[in-house]
Assembly symmetry: C2
Homo-oligomer: 248 residues x 2
């Protein structure tokens, strides 16, 4: 049976993809993806045929992948981070209904929450919510309801798509909502360009985060009430109870 792979390539650097992802990309003939990710991959997989579409043309991109797979070619659809978290896996499965002779295999990858967390320290040590601030495909009322619920549940919150050219001020708006429920001193973090050139991290308070600019390559972390700063890193303890020490 013909097969198409949906591959999460991790946050950017080749080394952040899984061994499986690297193997699948190495073996396939055609790599389909958003232009920016294709460029990241060309350095490591130069001898592939690349097919790209710009942002907002996700459905045509999927059909392109299925049509190549139907010809019997080995095809990978690539996504930054994970293939499932705000990725293309769901749309590929939906559109795959029209291509019953092509099997879809989903290959997971390190999503920005995990990649960014490793740079900040260990902000995701306990229960966490991922929320995207993009209202291109989700009404703002739903986003607001999720921010409120996440704050009420005292989750660590990882914010995807905190800003874009058309959505300036969304992060500040989200912080204002969170500040109704959470302390101004709540420990937060922001990471830019995870595992790419220009990688930057900052640990700050929720009050400060409200006045901070994020761009579309930023991932934002808002701590729970337990999150603290440990040697400059953002840490949410899992809450291991002290062990009984052996007498020395």
């Amino acid at each position: 049976m013909n097969k198409v792979y949906v591959v999460g390539i991790g946050p950017g650097a080749y080394e952040q993809m899984t061994v499986k992802a690297a193997k699948v990309l190495g073996e396939c003939e055609v790599i389909v993806g958003y232009t920016v990710y294709a460029e990241l991959l060309k350095e490591h997989f130069p001898d592939k045929e690349y097919m790209t579409t710009p942002m907002r043309q996700e459905e045509s991109r999927c059909r392109m992948a299925f049509e190549e797979a139907q010809k019997g070619r080995k095809v990978s659809m690539v996504c930054s981070g994970d293939s499932g978290i705000y990725g293309m896996a769901g749309l590929m499965l939906e559109i795959g209904k029209n291509y019953p002779d092509v099997e879809v295999e989903v290959i997971p990858g390190v999503t920005a929450a995990l990649g960014g967390a490793s740079i900040l320290g260990a902000p995701l040590g306990h229960d966490v919510c991922l929320i995207s601030l993009s209202d291109l495909m989700t009404p703002w009322a739903v986003i607001e309801k999720r921010l409120v619920s996440a704050a009420r549940g005292d989750f660590v919150i990882c914010i995807y798509n905190p800003s874009s050219r058309k959505r300036k001020g969304y992060l500040a708006r989200a912080c204002e909502i969170l500040l109704r429920y959470k302390d101004r001193e709540t420990v937060c973090g922001i990471v830019r360009n995870i595992a790419r050139s220009g990688e930057e991290r900052e640990v700050l308070t929720l009050g400060q985060l409200k006045d901070t600019e994020a761009d579309m390559f930023s991932t934002v972390f808002v701590g729970s009430s337990e999150t603290r700063v440990v040697s400059g890193k953002m840490v949410t303890p899992r809450g291991y109870k002290a062990e009984k020490e052996p007498v020395r």
Copy 2:
């Protein structure tokens, strides 16, 4: 400076770890970890010194890693899945305050939510909460508050540690709480032994999940109101709006 790595090895199979994680493990002399994960690694990294402690002895395990690193040896502390999500990164950073001459580097990995999701289809296509049902280190009241908040926010919910020998019935209890807010027909999924032998997946309703046994090697997914079954897979659409098709 001496260095210790906290490495997320992914859900189990060698191929699910990142290229970076495989490289770091290949280069280090000592691998410290929970007994079960050490056994998984020995096949691929046979020429290492393995130091293990059983479960519940996480603090001694961390000190062991730092003490080896202080001798100038290259040491990795390994965690299943990601190093940060319910992993050892936070505790390592905390205990690292006592070893200021040892630097801690956190290497992320594919956590069970991502690995399990790829097997079920694409359940995590939109905003998601991760909640652990383990009350070893978290009061049940906090867990309940988070389940309620996640349900009110209509998040997809990924449940870690749904059960253990001492915590039979916790998943049913969690489902009962969720059923106060969510439809019985909500699409759910359960994955056992992700990327290991005995891997199994099941797509079912929340009503059915309540009467399903999970074990400590299971990861459970409870859909949002948008989650649906597509060709037998569990899919939460990101909600891409239909594109304008070019005239053909």
